[in-house]
């Protein structure tokens, strides 16, 4: 596993030095992260890397998982969808079971920590049972809660209001809460399987295995087969481009789970791509990080034509690989892509097609966008930034009410 010093050549020695000095000022404090899964999903992915790095910085950091039965996870999925603004049926029985599972977990937990960082709604009620076991309680919401379902939010707000602080990914997601709220942007790990540098041979081996020829420029979208990622819109944009310029489209997504919509959208995508040899639809296992990395590095243009997005870490990954990215003008994509600078924002399949054509005809501009995009990610969206934000957050909680803290 990569150590802190391995990041110095990427972000600069000063950034690592700053982390070490911040941690030194903070002293040997204890921090526990609590979420609901150790594998799968962006939260677990970043915790796998952040926890050992925080330990290396001298913080006694642990990571606990909340346990639950299938009904509990169905409830928290409903809450997740509700926070994202979907109309959901959230019953009293669901609320009761959710609270009861948290009470059971509280009985089995043995930790004590000064800082308790709970991720997303699943473990939020633990504060009611375990408040004395932690000094500062922080709720970290990774979800786009900009327009939450009223019923779900009213219930959750009562619990979250008991916390000392909450953290959101974007200011749009923040809520009217009685405690300080902070912004921490999601980040990627430049040394993970999904983002580390690859040799040309490694890239070629993956493309050979996936039977992708590099005979034409490759347009790529990596995302789940989800209607909000608009894969059909991407196919439509591709067909418009193809009338003018030869290229091929690769749509790569995680394996369809038992999510009925995922299977349906995948079938629709396959149908739309039928009879078109220049469209390849790839269903990859959830842990195909190396393959995704190689695909992104082989692509000429990367698209993320979402119609709704939390932050859009696939955009961040593509930008880090120095690729020109065209993204839907939604959620965190808007923060990352700036027209003619770090990428292009689009609103329609037509806009997407136009920008693809624009970039195919202007390789110099494509290169420039890619370089600027990579630098933006280097400054703002790498894991070292998240570590700095966690350390700063702890310092701020130690100094309540102060807006300027001189260490």
């Amino acid at each position: 596993m990569a150590g802190l010093s391995d990041y110095a050549p990427i972000v600069g020695a000063e950034v690592i030095g700053q982390l070490e000095r911040l941690a030194e000022r903070l002293g040997p404090r204890s921090l526990v992260h609590i979420n609901s899964t150790r594998s799968g999903g962006g939260v677990a992915e970043i915790l796998h890397r952040a926890v050992p790095l925080l330990q290396q910085l001298g913080l006694e950091t642990s990571w606990e998982i909340i346990q639950g039965d299938p009904f509990f996870f169905a409830i928290t999925k409903t809450m997740h969808n509700g926070l994202q603004g979907e109309k959901v049926n959230f019953t009293q029985a669901m609320m009761d079971h959710y609270l009861e599972v948290n009470r059971e977990n509280a009985r089995s937990f043995k930790w004590n920590a000064e800082f308790v960082l709970l991720h997303d709604p699943q473990p939020a009620p633990l504060i009611r049972e375990m408040r004395p076991q932690g000094k500062y309680w922080i709720w970290r919401c990774h979800i786009d809660a900009s327009r939450p379902n009223f019923q779900v939010w009213r219930f959750l707000r009562e619990i979250v209001s008991e916390y000392d602080a909450s953290v959101f990914s974007m200011s749009q997601f923040a809520q009217d809460l009685p405690h300080p709220q902070y912004l921490i942007r999601p980040s990627i790990d430049p040394l993970s399987q999904k983002n580390r540098e690859l040799t040309e041979e490694e890239i070629k081996a993956v493309l050979d295995r996936l039977e992708i020829e590099r005979d034409k420029p490759i347009i790529l979208q990596v995302s789940r087969f989800d209607s909000f990622k608009d894969p059909l819109g991407v196919i439509s944009a591709f067909r418009m481009v193809r009338r003018h310029t030869p290229c091929k489209l690769v749509l790569a997504g995680g394996e369809a789970t038992d999510d009925p919509e995922g299977a349906r959208i995948f079938a629709e995508v396959q149908e739309a791509a039928q009879g078109e040899p220049d469209i390849q639809v790839l269903l990859l296992p959830a842990d195909a990080h190396h393959e995704i990395n190689a695909l992104q590095r082989a692509a000429d243009i990367i698209v993320q034509k979402s119609t709704r997005e939390g932050f859009g870490l696939t955009v961040t990954e593509a930008m880090w690989k120095g690729k020109p990215v065209i993204g839907g003008a939604v959620g965190g994509i808007v923060l990352q892509l700036q027209d003619y600078n770090t990428g292009f924002l689009v609103h329609t399949p037509e806009g997407c097609a136009f920008r693809i054509r624009y970039l195919l005809h202007r390789p110099e501009m494509a290169r420039r966008l890619g370089q600027l995009a990579r630098e933006l990610v280097r400054s703002h969206f790498l894991i070292t930034r998240t570590l700095r934000d966690y350390l700063t957050l702890m310092i701020l909680l130690d100094n309540p009410g102060k807006r300027l803290i001189e260490l």
């Binding site: 700053q18 003619y340 600027l372």
Partner: protein, 210 residues
């Protein structure tokens, strides 16, 4: 570190109302500190209010007015607040309608907390200063050059030019640094501009100490 308030403006009248009510720290954030939060390579609009007018209200005329507004013309944030309020009130006076943002494009108010920490990098000579300036993070450039112009009591004075003024007899360089129109540059460009101004005083090599 940015702190969202959970408060938003959906139209120009709500922005005006909020500007009357919010803490000065919020105005400080949207005029200055937000460029440190996400530093896009090109500063098309120099503050969040102008950017919001252009991108969310689709009001190019207002965006132009807010872009030309220079907060460094005023003595303190109280005066800056009043000047923006005056600008918006006058603009709204003649409008037959209130410009609205589409859902999702509201202006979300933030403030920030600052943690200042001494780095291990220091300079004793102008040459070392150049070296150091290339090594430090952009947050350090922001603190010493941008925020200092508000922090130091003397108007338009930043930490860098102050240090050069008190240690070296280089009044032209001091004046040139204070003349940088910082509001229209991103932090990287400010660093390059500073290095460009100092370089002639060192000979050919910026790394060479005096």
């Amino acid at each position: 570190m940015s702190s969202p308030l959970g408060l938003k403006a959906v139209n120009l009248r709500e922005l005006l109302q909020a500007l009357h009510e919010v803490d000065e720290a919020v105005i400080h954030y949207h005029l200055f500190q937000s460029r440190l939060a996400i530093g896009q390579p090109e500063v098309e609009y120099p503050n969040d209010f102008a950017l919001w007018a252009a991108n969310s209200l689709q009001d190019a005329k207002l965006a132009e007015k807010l872009s030309s507004f220079d907060p460094f013309d005023y003595e303190n944030l109280g005066e800056v607040r009043q000047a923006i309020i005056d600008l918006l009130e006058e603009y709204l006076w003649d409008l037959p309608y209130i410009p609205w943002a589409r859902p999702g494009l509201e202006l979300h108010f933030c403030e920030a907390s600052t943690v200042v920490m001494r780095s291990d990098i220091c300079a004793h000579t102008l040459g070392e200063f150049c070296d150091s300036l290339s090594q430090v993070g952009l947050d350090s450039v922001y603190y010493h050059f941008f925020e200092a112009r508000l922090r130091l009591e003397e108007k338009g004075v930043d930490d860098f030019s102050y240090w050069i003024e008190t240690n070296f007899d280089l009044p032209d360089l001091v004046e040139a640094i204070r003349g940088i129109d910082s509001y229209f540059y991103n932090l990287k460009e400010i660093r390059s501009a500073l290095l460009g101004l100092i370089k002639p005083y060192l000979g050919d090599d910026c790394g060479r100490t005096e």
